[in-house]
Symmetry: C2
Subunit: 404 residues, 2 copies
């Protein structure tokens, strides 16, 4: 790949103009949108309007002027990105809290099934929360097995199979229809964590027959740091599951102020406390970018961007751990290297922001909405240069930071 | 009270100038700051900086530039308002989620104590969440008794006494030291919901020997709609309790990405998911207003404002359900009336925003930071006029809204 070839791809890119809808800093190539998505330009005004007009001027009246329905309205905007119906998704709480709610609820469906099955090396909060969830249901337990042993571990005791669709380190992607089918055939519920795949790859939860899902608002959905997460329950299950976090916003009649809890119909029962409206407004602005974008063009561009970095990494002699088959991966690429942390620091020094994942992973996110082919080509050149001249061995790059 | 007397009180008010630090709409007297606090003027810039610079320009780097410590830093700013040490408070999640976390943890301290005791008519989410929490601990149950039977209901099975310090409808305030002592003497943990009292009245959790507390960021702390809540654990208990919502942000080493959960030391273990930074920034700006305010002057002014409305309500022949003793109440006043909803609508029509609480309560919040004595005097005049001329009986005020 040459710079001219990258530019030719940009010239032919049907979604190239979407980049103009983001406020990107000068002098930076941002390959960390899989950790924190970039700022949509319209979010500045949306957040400003939320603060100054909706809160400052309208005050409490805004709850009747669009706030109270925001979790469902925003859920409906997430739905087309994950192959769900508008009334199967709601935006609320954190991914962690949502995993807890759904796991405890899933464990209560069939008292004969007591096991949450998940993958060793899954994103930590999934496993940590699963520990917490099984401790809340008598007899429940968490079984964590290697990726290649998951399907054979499904059995008559499996209540729910909890998997992250795209792996946060390697970008490996599960075959959602096939795995969901295997869970169903074993009599278990299938729950997907879409944090690294929503907005990154094509997803069709309804078609796959998935039962439950959660995902993150602040990665490929560009909802802002710590944005509200989302939660999906297949329509057929919605009346059978209820939230253990039975807060007033999920009550059938929250403003009747009754002592006894009664879950709302539909997805509203998954709400806990009062929706965080500043965060909700930013998430909604992030989703509004997606509303006019040709989604298949995004998935195709992701694959093209990936190939550019894979070629550069290969030329640099790096060990790529992400699958070469586009259908088998998400929208980031990871290279294993014993000096991964220093390499990431040296790249940042050259204006290429990626991130490091303990202990030895250089992880580079590819976000088609706001990265051009030329951006990624330049990042690839930087990667080759850092490896070739060993600039990552400079002492200042050896200092570890708490978060990258 | 005459207008001139109210103006004289304003002239002598040591905190009168704090009002200028809020962006208040023209033509409105806002008596609903106990439901949603008003907008501090500095919050507009703080939220704008969070969005445009911290997120937009610094992107992922901001996690190392002040974000990751925000829950503890903001907790430390709440601490002086509730009589806690800086390392006993953390800002996170919703009040509802925080009640859940602390109740489940408290029920695990002593397996011989299985009862959560609370008050009939407590704020609904406290009771709803308590229902959800006891369902997560084998043998646990929720006992709800009338206010005057609470202390006698304490017994050898009581694990935790969960009370709201200031009642959301009546503004009745519990004697925190006396009730906390009674719980302790019964061997139970004492947990306070400070949602209607933090920033409204003097609170000294440490002095009272309280064990646990939660509270709301969007009422008297002026943190914005759906602001993060807070959570307090007395230092002596911090190593003995752990969160059932065992998310990665509460892990001892979140960026080591270990499969097994290990709670962080201190208050950090109460974090669940990634902190919602837009909401956190607004809460922090709201708390910064408090940092330079003479708090005892706030509590004194609250009592003075209350007396103005109590006098007006008395002149209008209204039935005040809020205690006359300042030490026995919070910072709102409630009147019972069979046409309460229409009265609130008629007041809004005159530019006085209060709220209605089912079935028969007119609730008016008194927020000394941004209400003058004259504001409240004018609100009292409006209340008297609405009752005297029966304007609340106009047909348009009979329409119920979902939220007020």
């Amino acid at each position: 790949m040459t710079r001219d070839e990258a530019r030719a791809l940009d010239a032919a890119d049907p979604i190239a103009a979407v980049r103009d809808r983001f406020a990107l800093p000068e002098g930076v190539i941002y390959l960390d949108g899989n950790s924190l998505g970039a700022l949509p330009a319209a979010t500045v005004a949306a957040a400003g309007d939320l603060v100054a007009r909706q809160w400052g001027e309208r005050l409490i009246r805004s709850w009747n002027e669009g706030w109270i329905d925001a979790p469902q309205r925003i859920g409906a905007k997430i739905a087309p990105l994950i192959g769900a119906a508008a009334d199967e998704v709601i935006a609320c709480d954190s991914t962690s809290a949502n995993i807890f709610k759904l796991l405890v609820a899933a464990l209560r469906v069939d008292p004969k099934r007591r096991t949450v099955l998940s993958e060793a090396g899954n994103f930590p909060t999934d496993l940590h929360i699963a520990e917490g969830a099984v401790a809340c249901v008598p007899g429940a337990r968490l079984e964590v097995v290697p990726r290649d042993k998951l399907l054979e571990a499904l059995g008559p005791d499996t209540a729910v199979l909890l998997l992250t669709h795209v792996h946060y380190k390697t970008a490996e992607r599960f075959d959602m229809p096939a795995v969901s089918r295997a869970a169903r055939e074993a009599g278990a519920l299938m729950m997907w964590d879409l944090s690294h795949s929503a907005g990154a790859v094509a997803i069709d939860l309804d078609d796959a027959g998935a039962d439950l899902a959660v995902g993150c608002g602040y990665k490929y959905l560009n909802g802002g740091p710590g944005a509200p997460a989302f939660l999906y329950v297949a329509r057929a299950l919605q009346d059978r599951l209820a939230s253990p976090l039975s807060g007033w916003m999920g009550h059938a009649e929250p403003f009747a102020f009754a002592d006894a809890y009664a879950p709302a119909p539909g997805m509203k029962r998954w709400l806990t406390g009062t929706p965080p409206m500043l965060a909700m407004a930013a998430l909604e602005a992030g989703l509004d970018v997606w509303s006019t974008v040709d989604r298949p063009a995004v998935w195709r561009k992701s694959a093209a961007l990936w190939s550019i970095l894979a070629e550069a990494g290969g030329q640099a002699g790096l060990d790529c751990v992400t699958p070469a088959d586009p259908a088998g991966r998400g929208s980031h690429i990871s290279f294993r290297h014993p000096e991964a942390h220093a390499i990431v620091q040296a790249l940042i020094d050259r204006g290429v922001i990626g991130d490091f994942r303990d202990p030895d992973m250089v992880r580079l996110g590819l976000t088609p909405l706001y990265l051009s082919h030329e951006d990624v080509w330049r990042a690839g050149e930087a990667l080759k240069a850092v490896i070739a001249d060993r600039s990552y061995r400079q002492p200042q790059f050896a200092v570890r930071q708490a978060v990258t």
